[in-house]
Symmetry: C2
Subunit: 454 residues, 2 copies
Amino acid sequence: MERIINHINENKDNYVIELKEFLRIPSISTNEENKGDMQKCADYVERKMREAGLSKTKVFQTEGHPIVYGEWLGAKGKPTVLFYGHYDVQPVDPIELWQTPPFEPVVKDGKIWARGATDDKGQLFVHIKSVEAYLKETGELPLNVKFLIEGEEEIGSPSLGKFISTNKNLLKCDTVVISDTSLFQPGIPTLTYGLRGLSYLEVEVTGPDRDLHSGSYGGAVANPANVLIEMIAKLHDKNNKIMIPHFYDDVLKLTNQERENFKKLKLSDKAFAKEVGVKELTGEKGFTTLERIWARPTLDVNGIWGGFTGKGAKTIIPSKASAKFSMRLVPNQEPKKIAKLVCDYLMSIAPKGVKVKVTNLHGGYPVITPLEHKATKTAAKAMEKAFKKKTVFIREGGSIPVIATFATILKVPSVMMGLGLNSENLHSPNEHFDLKHFHLGILSSAYFMDEFSK
Amino acid sequence: MERIINHINENKDNYVIELKEFLRIPSISTNEENKGDMQKCADYVERKMREAGLSKTKVFQTEGHPIVYGEWLGAKGKPTVLFYGHYDVQPVDPIELWQTPPFEPVVKDGKIWARGATDDKGQLFVHIKSVEAYLKETGELPLNVKFLIEGEEEIGSPSLGKFISTNKNLLKCDTVVISDTSLFQPGIPTLTYGLRGLSYLEVEVTGPDRDLHSGSYGGAVANPANVLIEMIAKLHDKNNKIMIPHFYDDVLKLTNQERENFKKLKLSDKAFAKEVGVKELTGEKGFTTLERIWARPTLDVNGIWGGFTGKGAKTIIPSKASAKFSMRLVPNQEPKKIAKLVCDYLMSIAPKGVKVKVTNLHGGYPVITPLEHKATKTAAKAMEKAFKKKTVFIREGGSIPVIATFATILKVPSVMMGLGLNSENLHSPNEHFDLKHFHLGILSSAYFMDEFSK
């Protein structure tokens, strides 16, 4: 193991030079004009895997952008790890706010600045480099590895689900490792072991067949905007509990261990409030801020519209009013079941005199990899060895749909060994990645393989 | 009186010829290019007053369009009636839907078709013609009359309030008579004796200083759209009562007589619902449809907006959400007092973690001319004589701000001797006016002067 670590430490600067090459390819998946760059970038990833010493590599064409696969399966009887990542990046607008061009990476203040630096080229690269260190030094790996690097993550991974379904055997593994999340704080090894899911609905309330004069008709006709408001208001009580019958039935309670872990992170509500520009935080009664955003379901109106929204005063009863709202779900809530509960409830409280239409726009499963799982424990230990600090266990309030796909189709847990920082401007101008975390990530990945093989 | 009536009957056709002249002038007050027509139209009205035999007429210039004044004050010791009307008309768009050109009046099916026919040229003309009939036949009137005909009603009467305030003595009178409303049904003499007022507010709720990711922040931060919804929902109870403290304190109760009168009108809820395209009517518990729209205050959301309103699903907590809402007021509610009550209540229920801003956009006083008032009783009797049917007494759910101005500044009641029909396409293509009602209107006006002089 010492040889591997030394190899990684000695090649620190070379890794940065190679990462720069990777970052120079403008692999913006949403732009039609970058289609050629997507292929170029996939080929680059495949070449790097080959150079690292993987025994088999392949670029798979899809209906969208290519998927890159690689494997080394020479460790008979040992477990198999699947490394997942994505080589596509977000668009660069507004380009004028970049201090250096997005596809001309520069190193400054110990960070590398370019689109894709932290999301996700820099993060996925650590696993290619740790595998390379092993194969270059010893000619073998302590376990079997597979790589699955897609080019459509930033556009919702339209081809990936089908690819995983039709290549179940090829992708068979014991755990997935993903580096596409963030450290809780700089220098603190962090494992994200839970994500929230989503159920996203739209509701439309229709009243009269045209906008009516509120003088001539006000008082006699149900106003769709008022009705919509009253219906949505009924979805919460005053303690911010969600009032849909059976909504909480499948919610996995936080363990005492988890509540302890969250408490130890000492999040400052005051600093959090300041960061988002509000005077104070609010939320479901009986829970702390981290519990609320990581482990409790929520219901937020994402948009609402209806009637006259221009300047001044127009006295109408609008014909229609609509809202989009979504629930963040937690294990073990099921998006389809929740959508049906909400829909049924809304229909049950819809008053006479209006038509109510509810559309299920979108859903995603919540995921959790138990703290006691071997993969979680091993990853924590590996990161501790690299970072020389105690690993913290966090969850994340958002969703990473592919992890639910791995859980559902491959039936394996995912370890989120995130190395970025929320402050590293992913999706914004001046994206960057701390090279200290890049280096510690390669070490963590190497330690993980060593530990997981035991 | 018989001579007067005969004169009116004999000149029936001439009145239509003259009304056509009046209707040919495209006096669209909102169009800059019709500015010359506005002056022309004002001059036409003044000429018609002079020809009718008024002793003094004058066109007053204002900052906007001219106001035409006329008087005959030869009946010493007798009461004075002020006839109010407006010579300006609505625009004609969409012009392609007119079956005959809007400013080329034609008579068809006993109706005259042109922009302004019912609103308000045809209606105001009846009073000029009734005065003319008296003066031509007898050389005098049984009482004193004044005319106040403005050219800015369709654009909110910006110059009228100031004109009335600075000409209080000139306009001094015992009652105002206005023909600018509708008959309850064709051929049924109708007096509108009450109007609702208005208090129009806008409320803006601000949360975080930018839209937030609903995954990363949902549950910890008050969502301005949810807060706005919850606040507005609190303004009504389940019986559609308005829940703002002291809101109903000044509401004048309907008398038994009024409830009886409304009941006799036999409004069909089913037909009303069908007309606006809803399955059934709803409203404040304990009141009939006509009571709800004519004599009860209401609160309607006129517009609401916030967050993501495009296609698909965007998972944000919006930074802001806003709504416009307005209350129709009834005698004796005061718009300013009501606006303050609502504002205070909203601020009192605003939760922590958001900023709430309430703006008072607009207000208007409700009005009522008591059924027992001499002017009301006389007008009812006059219309009965002309129409040979019993007069019905209605209120109107909308507002006519000038009537509140007369009540406040001149301290006199207004009699709304409407002769139009709601179905006569005022403000729409193919506006028309039933010539039967035009004729009965001239007779009603003549009978009114006779009766009111007693």
